[in-house]
């Protein structure tokens, strides 16, 4: 019995050592990263030779899931800066100069945040990149702030999502999670 137990214990310790050796390499994120382009699905258009307009924007963000929780006003406090995703602060890359809220944004890499409220959100584009969360967010680095109305959706979006959609003046960045959706107009 003792021998057996010791053997089992030994084996378990051995397994744990392996597990730990493995955890040196990163596991999968709970809120996995994703990216969206304008033109939408640009990498697919490239391989299908269907590109009709130049690359304008790409957003890299992580996708937290609702998992039965009330997202806005509960999981995310109203009035507080949110990284628009999870993990690293969301990154937006413009490949050409664009206009947001009538202000020119030069091509380049920026971080994005928002301040959610019940009826409107403030969308923020900020020049500090490669940061984690919104802990080091500093409004002196803001390029643009824009207030957007919240649209209520009847269908629930389980996984936070952002994607670009063609508009009359350029493209809208659609931001959706839970029962909430917003359109950020980007002019180019």
């Amino acid at each position: 019995m003792m021998k057996y137990l010791l053997l089992v214990t030994g084996f378990l310790f051995f397994s744990i050592t392996i597990l730990h050796a493995q955890t040196k390499l990163p596991g999968l994120d709970r809120s996995p990263m994703d990216m969206s382009y304008y033109p939408d699905q640009y990498p697919l258009l490239i391989i299908q030779d269907k590109v009709t307009e130049p690359l304008v924007a790409r957003i890299i963000y992580s996708r937290p899931q609702k998992k039965g929780r009330v997202v806005f006003g509960d999981l995310l406090e109203y009035g507080k800066v949110w990284r628009l995703g999870a993990n690293e602060a969301t990154e937006i890359n413009f490949y050409t100069d664009v206009k947001v809220n009538d202000k020119i944004i030069l091509k380049g890499r920026y971080s994005m945040y928002c301040i959610p409220n019940v009826e409107r959100w403030t969308i923020i584009i900020n020049k500090q990149t490669d940061t984690w969360g919104s802990y080091k967010y500093n409004d002196t680095d803001d390029i643009i702030r824009m207030d957007l109305p919240v649209q209520k959706q009847t269908e629930i979006t389980e996984e936070f999502v952002m994607a670009f959609e063609k508009s009359a003046t350029g493209a809208d960045l659609i931001i959706a999670w839970d029962d909430v959706k917003l359109n950020l107009p980007i002019v180019f």
Partner: protein, 217 residues
């Protein structure tokens, strides 16, 4: 005495089991989807669930965004890789389809070093790979794996799904030896580690890994 010993062992055993359970719980991934299908429109992607092989990124210095949070005035990162992370799922990863059935990646064929979009590496300052300069910028990084070595290639043909091969846009390549790992890596992993010459990009999947030296010191 014997009882005490046994009690101790049983307690130990339970704590070990508990520990293992916790480990596994923390590793539970909720990415369950069949989204290998290709989204066709923005509306489709709005309801599209997370990718089966989720995207991830690694920086050098390692964990740069977190370090930046605690270190004021931190210098720019040196490199960043963005890639999809396919899962082994009990399959044989690399092989020769004439010899082994159901392999994921054929020896001698170009591989996007990940899944979905071609993997992308950005260097934020000029570096040297295989004695050749790589200027500041963004590149596709792909591999041609063999049993004993991988050829790693940097290419200018950015933003493609899979590999849209245009070898005329290859910039530089390097052959690096395959190293056997004694552990099994379930999800394809890329990350940077410090070296005396600069840093190394470690690429690991299944029971093998390769190490790409990047020099900037």
């Amino acid at each position: 005495m014997l009882i005490k010993k046994e009690t101790a062992v049983v307690t130990l055993l339970f704590s070990v089991l508990f520990f293992v359970a916790c480990e596994q719980k923390s590793k539970t991934i909720t990415v369950d989807s069949n989204s290998m299908r290709i989204p066709v429109s923005v509306h489709d992607s709005l309801i599209l669930s997370v990718d089966k092989s989720p995207m991830d990124m690694s920086y050098f210095p390692d964990d740069y965004p977190k370090q930046k949070m605690i270190t004021p005035n931190m210098a720019s990162p040196v490199a960043r890789v963005i890639y999809g992370r396919p899962k082994k799922n009990g399959r044989t990863i690399f092989g020769d389809s004439g010899v082994t059935k159901n392999i994921i990646q054929e020896y001698g064929k170009e591989w996007r070093l990940g899944a979905n979009e071609a993997s992308e590496m950005e260097v934020f300052k000029p570096v040297v790979i295989n004695g050749k300069p790589l200027n500041t910028g963004r590149y596709i990084i792909y591999a041609i794996p063999y049993a004993d070595r991988w050829k790693i290639i940097f290419n200018n043909n950015l933003y493609s799904w899979g590999l849209h091969m245009d070898k005329t846009q290859d910039i530089l390549s390097i052959e690096i030896p395959v190293i056997r790992n004694d552990i099994n890596i379930e999800y394809f992993t890329m990350l940077f580690q410090q070296s005396t010459q600069g840093c190394e990009l470690v690429m690991a999947w299944g029971n093998i890994k390769t190490v790409l030296p990047i020099n900037f010191n």
